[in-house]
Amino acid sequence: MAIIEVNGLRKAYGGKPAVDGVGFTVEEGEIFGILGPNGAGKTTTVECVEGLRVPDAGTVRVAGLDPVADHRQVTQLLGAQLQESELQPKLTVREALELYSAFYAKPADWRPLAARLGLDAKLSTRFAKLSGGQKQRLFIALALIGGPRVVVLDELTTGLDPRARRDTWSLIEEIRDSGVTVLLVTHFMEEAQRLCDRIAVIDRGKVAALDTPSGLIARSTASTVISFAPSRALPDEDVSALPGMASVETQGDRIVINGTDDTVNAVITLLARHRVTAHQLRVTEATLDDAFLDLTENGPGVSSAPTTTATTERV
């Protein structure tokens, strides 16, 4: 059953469309990822789901309710962690948990929640003194404190060190395993690939693709990369005739071929036929990175900017 339905969503700021016809449905119990370069409209989309923004056009439903018109009911079943939001600097963790518990009709018991999120040793610490990872865990706790059916996590792991990020990933999986649907906004490919059941790739305000992570990778024009240093040069016409090949390039004495499983077999046959030895042969699976770059750079009238952004963001 779909818990979130978004149809034809549009939202413009000052005449400039931030979201331009986005649609997707999130099924109950899945981790649904929204992936895209900075400024693609990810946050605007989830802010409409949270009822923080009023869409210009299109519909958004959370468990059949309108997040704007039925705001209070939606807040009882949707927990949110916002990008770049803070708490009162001198509020302690315990006070924050107690305060937010008081907001909900049927709050979860905050003590086990704090323990599960590793905050029990920090209960008397003020918000301003928490580390980035601890702040994010507190925000996860506050998103879960109302006993929601769905949580929206926006750029949760941005700014965290790799260990804290991995710890957070396990937490997100635990949340899903406890039966809560997760809508995850991210620009980390690895995060999306590891966590998400399905991903909507959003680029320039539109859904560029919607699939499972492996589906997105398979869709990518070059899902397999074959590279090797040939002992002798291979005839160009034979290389360019390889089946399923998407691209070929020479990097120093190495040949790098993007293609499919068929290409791999054909390369091996070709090498054998010409009695060429392939030194340091590597066959690697394309990652979500490659699929993402493929999906977000092939559109018409694209400058190189989004690609550069996406690449540099892969920290």
Partner: protein, 247 residues
């Protein structure tokens, strides 16, 4: 939702106790200033130019107004603009409790703090310097209530029109000094030259000073002064509500 509002109010009260700076300027400073002035020997002598009253008698209502100005222009803008800037109001919008609850709690607490501070000024003035309690108590309380609304609404307007905390501090200070002047901190309004006194009495704090002084002396405040205060309170509140941005 009553319990949620109470929880917010309690939490904000607790947070206010963790701000010694705010508490000093809001609760201690007005009384301290009055005590320092009261320690100047000449200020405790009856002055024929003041109709036989003492300077310290004039300064008790001034110090009470100072507490209100501190609450509205010094304490409120950094707190509320900070709540907006840090996304605390937005975070609250995703819960069943409206962020207005947070603003209301702060207004209640700062207003309460300012009135407590004013009460402290009056009590210390009475005990330490024998300053008479307000002769027309009801008129005094009415004038004080209107002045409180005016000062807090002025602070609210600063919060509404300031894009950042830094801007809020600058705008707050720009209004802070004229407010102190018109309240009579440097020169009690009643001792100002006639023309200046007339002009000042059209400002929110100037009108408040005149109304409080009249009630101190046992008469009912002039309706003109109360009217000026009510009008300011209305305009400033409307402006703050009209221009306030949640993010």
């Amino acid at each position: 939702m009553a319990s949620a509002s109470t929880a917010v109010l309690k939490t904000e009260a607790r947070l206010l106790t963790r701000e010694p700076g705010v508490l000093f300027w809001l609760v201690a400073f007005p009384t301290l200033l009055m005590v320092i002035l009261g320690l100047i020997p000449g200020f405790r002598d009856a002055d024929p130019d003041l109709g036989g009253r003492r300077v310290i008698d004039l300064y008790v209502p001034v110090a009470a107004l100072l507490a209100l100005i501190m609450a509205g222009l010094q304490a409120m803008p950094p707190i509320l603009i900070g709540y907006r800037e840090r996304g605390i109001l937005r975070r609250m919008s995703t819960t069943p409790v409206r962020p207005t609850t947070l603003l209301t709690s702060q207004i209640v607490l700062l207003g309460g703090g300012a009135l407590a501070s004013a009460a402290l000024v009056i009590a210390v003035g009475r005990i330490a310097f024998g300053v008479a309690l307000p002769g027309q108590l009801l008129g005094y309380l009415l004038a004080l209530a209107l002045a409180t609304v005016g000062a807090l609404a002025m602070g609210g307007l600063v919060c509404a029109i300031s894009p950042t905390q830094r801007a809020g501090q600058a705008i707050g200070s720009a209004l802070f000094f004229p407010s102190m002047f018109t309240a009579g901190v440097w020169l009690p309004v009643q001792t100002m030259p006639d023309l200046l006194r007339d002009i000042v009495s059209y400002s929110p704090m100037g009108a408040a000073s005149e109304a409080l002084d009249a009630a101190m002396r046992g008469g009912w405040p002039h309706w003109a002064d109360l009217g000026v205060m009510a009008l300011w309170a209305l305009l400033l509140t409307a402006g703050a509500a009209r221009w306030f941005r949640w993010e």
